[in-house]
Amino acid sequence: MESTRAHESQYTRSLIEASLDPLVTINNKGKITDMNDALTNITGLKREMLRGTNFSDYFTEPQKAREVYQDVFANGSVTDSPLTFRHKNRQLTDVLFNGSVYKNSKGNILGAVVVARDTSEQKMATEFRIANKELAFQNDEKEKRAEELVIANKELAFQNDEKGKRADELIIANKELAFQNDEKEKRAEELIIANKELAFQNDEKEKRAAELIIANYARSLIEASLDPILTINTSGKITDMNAATLYITGLSRKKITGSDFFDHFTEPEKARKVYQQVFARGSVADSPFTLRRKDGKLINVLFNGSVYKDDRGDVVGVVIVARDITIQTKFEEELKAAIVFAELATEIAEEAKTKAETATVLAENAVKSKQQFLSNMSHEIRTPMNAIIGFTKVLLKNELSARQKEYLTAIKMSGDALIVLINDILDLAKVDAGKMTFEKIPFKLALSISAMLHLFETKIQEKNLKLVKEYDLEIPEVLIGDPVRLHQIILNLVSNAVKFTFQGEITVKVQLIDEDDENVRIEFSVTDTGIGIEKNKLKKIFENFQQASSGTSRLYGGTGLGLAIVKQLIEPQGGSICVKSKIDKGSTFSFILPFRKTNAEAEMEAELVEPDATITDVKVLVVEDIALNQLLMKTLLDDFGFECDIASNGELAIEKLKTKSYDIILMDLQMPVMNGFEATEYIRDNMDSEIPIIALTADVTTVDLTKCMAVGMNDYIAKPVDERLLYSKIVGFVKKTVQLNDPEENKNPEDIKVKYTDLDYLNRRTKSNPALMMEMISLYLEQTPVLISNMKKGLRERDWDRLYKAVHKMMSSFSIMGISSDFENMAKQVQEYAGSHIKSEGIPDLVLKLENVCVQACEELKEEFNTLKNSN
């Protein structure tokens, strides 16, 4: 009997020592009383050094460790409490803690047994812990578990009671023994030897009792573990187990004992392999298995197993410590599911994003192609419209019957309306495409406004309206801005005002709002006494294709684009527009635009020159590839009385320029072989000619205009060509050229504006040698004043001979300097009078005229002389 007890004691001890999980017992003061090998491994300290020391000192968080063991004493047990062991060499080991109190046979608490599980190698454990923290409901699970543990504890307590009872039985047995001792003592005298023998036996029994207590103690430690601990013999049969094993399998101790260890798992073959591994290697750690409970429930466990040996060192079986990781597995699975779900959600989101991006690209493309389509269509429509309107205008000039005139006028008006619409659409397309840019050039505001209002005079008179113009004289004369766009804005507003007003007046007001050193802000307002706009429509009228009422277009025509364009033209320039209106009283549209001040001279433009019969003999080269447009330009220029040559492309134009001299070139931009830009570049750079070049362009985008200016064009005219504009531009340039040579002409505007001199003869004679020409001119300039004074003197002193000779001399150089033979005849007349000595009333006049001619000629020649000098 004693030997079995001793054997059992040794057996439990070896189980404890074989466990890979640190097992520690501590007393109620937190001092370590006992431990297994695993603890010495994890702390790196020897048994002797550990025993009696503070349990909490071996953790990174001693306070928390203290709380944990206090918990154990307070509640009887604690489970899966995460703590970190600190190894002597500072290596840290994360562990989960299961602890429970153990009691002596009287049920008094002797201390706590703590089983720690090294979790540092379980990668998932960290994640589980994070999951533990993140997922609150886990607490509920834990509480449930705790309740289950309470039940387990009760079971344990019951077990302990059972043991207690057995201990009591032992005590009773001891009492029996003592009684027998007493009996034997009574017989001591008789049986001293027997007594001695008994005393010896008593001693032996006491020793055994102590051993039994130790055995009981070790056993209670094992039973107190919340992790199932069981032993298997070499044939795979379960030989012993603790209470946790019973709880987890749901089987009774009897049923488990002797049963095949592998049958408790879902994968018996794997279990067998692991079991064989234990024998082969001596131990196995953290091997995952699924345990099948009696009721069929599956429980995930991690297995630590190691062999244990008898006194002779022979392997007698395996001790296995399993840990229920059902909850961890559950968390793991949930986590996995969550990850999968999150990944799925991300995928869906990405797909949606891709779809949205594709949709955006599609939409952008659609907008772009819409703009391109609008732009192309407008352009394509404009070219034939150009011809239709142009030829209609030409036809209208002919003798027509009243009816024909009416029809043609109708065609022209419709055409004009269509062009306005197309221009509007193009403008809007440009705004949409962000291509609308504004020029910053000096211009005269007052002039610009009055020129524009001039256009409405006929219309306003026709409708019997009054046009009132109020212009603030404080406004600086020259401003920097975009006069073309300003025109467009005011044109739109005034034409609306005229359209919707049937009686009363239209007031155009221009006022200086504020002014600093560099900028001015000017308010323009157009007020009418027309039909007015409903209050709730006031905001809408600035939207595309909107009119105040849907009936408006039926009654008054128009597309509803005008005000939209006005808004788009004002706002990007930093201005704002507002409208006030009262039904049947009228409307006021006002806008404020900023302009920069400048000292620069405004370019003279926008002033339409009335046809001037004296300006003929202008040689124009039209470079244009479309036959219809060629014909139209020729017709227009013929009407002006200008000479006109046509070249179908830039290359042909250059050929023509080489053989003939022109006053001005009208250049289409888009042509085959050589376009307008290339041709202009060639003329400016390679031919070194400064001849004025006006671009003919269908699409007045600013990009094109910058390009025009960059290659050296002087101006542009938009198609369809406005006849008056064309005329005034041509005349403007031709005049400029003349003015350069003949500033005198401007001082005597009553004079016939014809150049007196012509260096053609001199050119031919000298073969255009500038040096010789200059010599000739300077001689003329020296001699002529003497001749003039002689002539005047002769007349004054009635010295007919002197007069005759002076005039004679004068006359001979007339032809050299290209002075018209009319004047030569005039001179001859004077000569005749002088020669015949007949006093005539006409002589003084003729002499004066001759003097004028000569003075003018001298001025002209001085200019020529300087030009020649400068060009050398």
């Binding site: 003869y761 004679r765 000298t766 073969k767 010789l772 010599e775 000739m776 001689l779 003329y780 020296e782 001699q783 003497v786 001749l787 002689n790 001979d801 002197r802 000779k805 002076a806 004679h808 001399k809 006359m811 001979s812 150089s813 032809s815 050299i816």
Partner: protein
């Protein structure tokens, strides 16, 4: 080209512009060594330069009334060397003036006009042609 081989031309006109024009034209159109004079007096002074042809304006006193006129200058030239051919030039297209010039032994009389220069060229060609013929005639006369 050597100046000696060139035809030495005297141009005399008080109209500086016309004078210059003539000079330019002769320069450009043929090989002439040209001397220009604004008055008859200056021309006479330079006769020692042996001009081959003299082109002389009829009116030399238009500006300076005291100046020597064309006919007087012509007479002086002829007095100096009657062999020097003188072509008279004038804006006057009156036949009397022309006849008067011819009486004073001018080689030809040309009216100032646009074609004047071409006619001058013809005349100069004629002068040399005539001189050549005269020389040949003289040579034959001597032989006979």
């Amino acid at each position: 080209m050597d100046n000696k081989n060139k035809i030495k031309l005297f141009l005399v006109d008080d109209d500086a512009v016309y004078l210059k024009l003539l000079e330019i034209e002769f320069f450009q159109n043929a090989d002439f060594s040209i001397e220009t004079f604004s008055t008859g007096e200056k021309c006479i002074e330079s006769l020692s330069h042996n001009p081959d042809v003299i082109i002389l304006d009829y009116k030399l006193d238009d500006i300076d009334r005291n100046a020597m006129n064309g006919i007087e200058t012509l007479d002086k030239i002829k007095a100096f060397n009657s062999e020097i051919p003188v072509v008279m030039l004038s804006a006057q297209d009156r036949i009397e003036v022309a006849i008067n010039c011819m009486h004073h032994k001018a080689f030809d009389y040309i009216v100032k006009s646009e074609t004047a220069f071409i006619r001058l060229q013809h005349t100069i060609t004629n002068i040399f042609h005539t001189q050549k013929i005269e020389k040949a005639l003289n040579w034959y006369m001597e032989k006979m």
